[in-house]
């Protein structure tokens, strides 16, 4: 205070500075934050918008941009949805996809929880190498892996059954979830487990009653990832399933709704829209856990 009073020349700049700062920071926010954010959102959301609009447009509007605004629907219709639900096997596809995604997610979570716990906590001889090996397995691209896997699937008699997918998806889900969970287990203080060990718990009791309850956010985000990856998986689903009614949604809409070179755009988009809903709903339920598992460790 006394400094400012002693040098009156400063007061001018001192009073002008805050305004300029405010203007500056507002402009800066708009330029650096809102404009990029808006572009980003637009690019991200436009396909969904297009999908939604197309799904509810009558064919007349769909194929005639000259007379109809491509970005808007004049007379919305449920005809494509109706066609999809009652004239195709879409409900069956949806069910298969759900079954495969849930089952393979469950299997993968089970296996990767145990694997991650063993690698992170038991510290057996060579555990780092096992961790590394699992990671390397994740780097093998599915487009190479599906050839040997196809042989195995056929020889095990699983071809064209949901099990072909339920048992092959874990090949990429387990490495991924294991790595995610190793990181999460690392953030749980080891002292807690030592304390439980003294309290008389066995390894399995520790895992069930201490580690897993604390790792719930990590498990949920691993689950979301696994679910999303299996829901959207394409190559294995295309290769291991043949009969029309046991296909999964991403494959089916592409193979069953494109007849010859005729794209049934309305039904395609309605199928994609309905197909993305479960994942979106899944995310929205767990988004808090998901964020917290990516940003924070366990705090007491």
């Amino acid at each position: 205070m006394s400094d400012v009073a002693a040098s009156p020349g400063n007061t001018n700049t001192a009073s002008a500075a805050p305004e300029q700062m405010a203007w500056d920071s507002k402009t800066r926010r708009v330029v650096l934050l809102y404009v990029p954010l808006a572009c980003f959102l637009f690019i991200l959301l436009f396909p969904f918008y297009w999908m939604t609009v197309t799904a509810f447009k009558p064919n007349a509007e769909l194929y005639n941009f000259a007379e109809h605004n491509p970005l808007w629907i004049s007379s919305p219709t449920l005809e494509h949805v109706y066609h999809l639900l009652f004239n195709t096997a879409y409900p069956k596809w949806l069910w298969t996809t759900m079954l495969v995604a849930v089952a393979s997610t469950f299997l993968s979570l089970l296996a990767s929880t145990l694997a991650a716990y063993a690698i992170q906590r038991l510290r057996f001889r060579g555990s780092q190498y096992v961790g590394l090996a699992i990671y390397l397995a994740y780097l093998v691209p599915p487009s190479i892996l599906f050839i040997p896997l196809a042989t195995m699937v056929v020889q095990l008699g699983l071809f064209d059954t949901p099990f072909a997918l339920i048992l092959t998806y874990p090949t990429f889900l387990i490495p991924f979830c294991t790595w995610l969970l190793i990181g999460y287990f690392k953030s749980i203080p080891y002292e807690l487990e030592e304390c439980a060990l003294i309290d008389g718990a066995t390894r399995l009791q520790i895992l069930r009653q201490i580690t897993l309850p604390l790792a719930v956010p990590g498990l949920i985000s691993a689950g979301i990832f696994a679910f999303t990856l299996s829901w959207n998986e394409f190559i294995y689903a295309l290769a291991f399933i043949q009969s029309s009614e046991s296909k999964t949604v991403p494959v089916a809409i592409l193979t069953e709704l494109v007849t010859g070179d005729v794209y049934q755009w309305g039904a395609l988009m309605a199928g994609s829209l309905l197909g993305s809903l479960p994942v979106a709903i899944f995310y929205s339920f767990f988004v808090d856990y998901y964020v917290s598992s990516l940003t924070g460790a366990v705090k007491e």
Binding site: L192, E194, I198, D199, G200, P213, K299, E300
Partner: protein
């Protein structure tokens, strides 16, 4: 209640030896404090007793039973960790009851034990809170409650007070001591703070670099430190340890001071030790130049130089002199400690 014997315990991490053969005998109901500078292996020894680290060599026995290969849960011990290690997803009640739940104790017994411990520790009102809703001192008490409910043979504490502020630390210090006396449970307590060790222990074990320097009652260590390490570690402010040699009818310290020796002194003195509180002001003393004067109210701590030899004194008298002025001091000859060239007491 149990005795604990550590016989020639060794520990290597990989090829690095951390403990080089440690021997401790702990009597039934005794409060033993392991004290030493950070990194000397105190926690490692405690964790070996708990069963959290395996034993590279030697033997550890609890209540006469060798426990080298016994898992932690069967050693009948309870441990309080430095960061308390409370289970964050359980309430105070669940935290305390966890060990009993694992042992499948009846519900009434669990509730009774929890209530009893809560009463002892003043946690009655907090039983349904989660650890994150507690203050540091309260968490500390819950950690102790978790230990009490198990009626263990031995309590193990690893620096339990190091996360508390100074005032709370003093308070918890006496609470832990009082609790231990009430329960009469054998206790091993690790700290790097020699004041905690002095005030709490029946027996202090001073460790340094993986070895035991000396073990004994607090005042025995204070009165007769076995070597220069213990002499410098126990007591606050720390003992003056002045290197030099015997000549000119006294002890000629590095820096030039000539300090008087007690009668019948051996000739091979290499270090002269005198505690700050055992320097007294005297008209016939040696002239010392004041460097820093720090009055604490009850006493005055003074950093001074005799010739160029630095010494610290602590006087009950109030000293008003300014730096640069001189006072006259002399050591209480009955309380001088003399050490040989190997650092051992003569």
């Amino acid at each position: 209640m149990a005795t604990v014997s550590v016989r020639d315990a060794r520990k290597n991490f990989g090829s690095t030896p951390i403990l080089h053969g440690v021997n401790v005998e702990i009597g039934d109901g005794e409060f033993v404090v392991l004290v030493g500078p950070s990194g000397c292996g105190k926690s490692t020894l405690l964790r070996m007793i708990a069963g959290l680290e395996n034993i590279s060599g030697g033997e550890i026995a609890i209540g006469g039973r060798v426990v080298n290969t016994v898992p932690p849960k069967d050693r009948d011990i309870a441990m309080v960790f430095q960061n308390y290690a409370l289970y964050p997803h359980m309430t105070v009640r669940e935290n305390m009851a966890f060990s009993m739940k694992l042992a499948k104790a009846p519900r009434e017994v669990m509730e009774e034990e929890v209530q009893r411990a809560a009463k002892i520790l003043g946690l009655d009102a907090l039983l349904d809170r989660y650890p994150r809703q507690l203050s540091g001192g309260q968490r500390q008490r819950v950690a102790m409650g978790r230990a009490i409910v198990r009626h263990p043979q031995v309590f193990l504490f690893d620096e339990p007070l190091s996360n508390l502020d100074a005032k709370l630390r003093v308070q918890m210090r006496s609470e832990i001591r009082e609790l231990q006396q009430r329960l009469a449970t054998t206790t091993i307590y690790v700290t790097h703070d020699q004041i905690e060790a002095m005030t709490m222990a029946d027996q202090i074990v001073v460790m340094n670099a993986g070895r035991i320097e000396q073990a004994g009652a607090p005042l025995a260590l204070y009165d007769r430190p076995a070597n220069t390490f213990v002499a410098g570690f126990i007591g606050s402010p720390a003992m003056n340890l002045v290197p030099g040699e015997i000549s000119d009818g006294g002890f000629r310290a590095q820096g030039g001071a000539l300090l008087p020796l007690p009668p019948a002194t051996p000739a091979n003195v290499a270090t002269y030790g005198i505690r700050p509180e055992h320097l007294v002001l005297a008209e016939d003393g040696i002239e010392a130049r004041l460097v820093v004067v720090e009055p604490t109210g009850s006493e005055t701590q003074v950093a001074m130089r005799i010739a160029e030899t630095p010494l610290v004194g602590a006087f009950r008298e109030r000293i008003t002199g300014r730096p640069g002025e001189t006072i006259r001091v002399k050591p209480d000859l009955s309380l001088v400690h003399l050490f040989g060239a190997d650092g051992r007491r003569l």
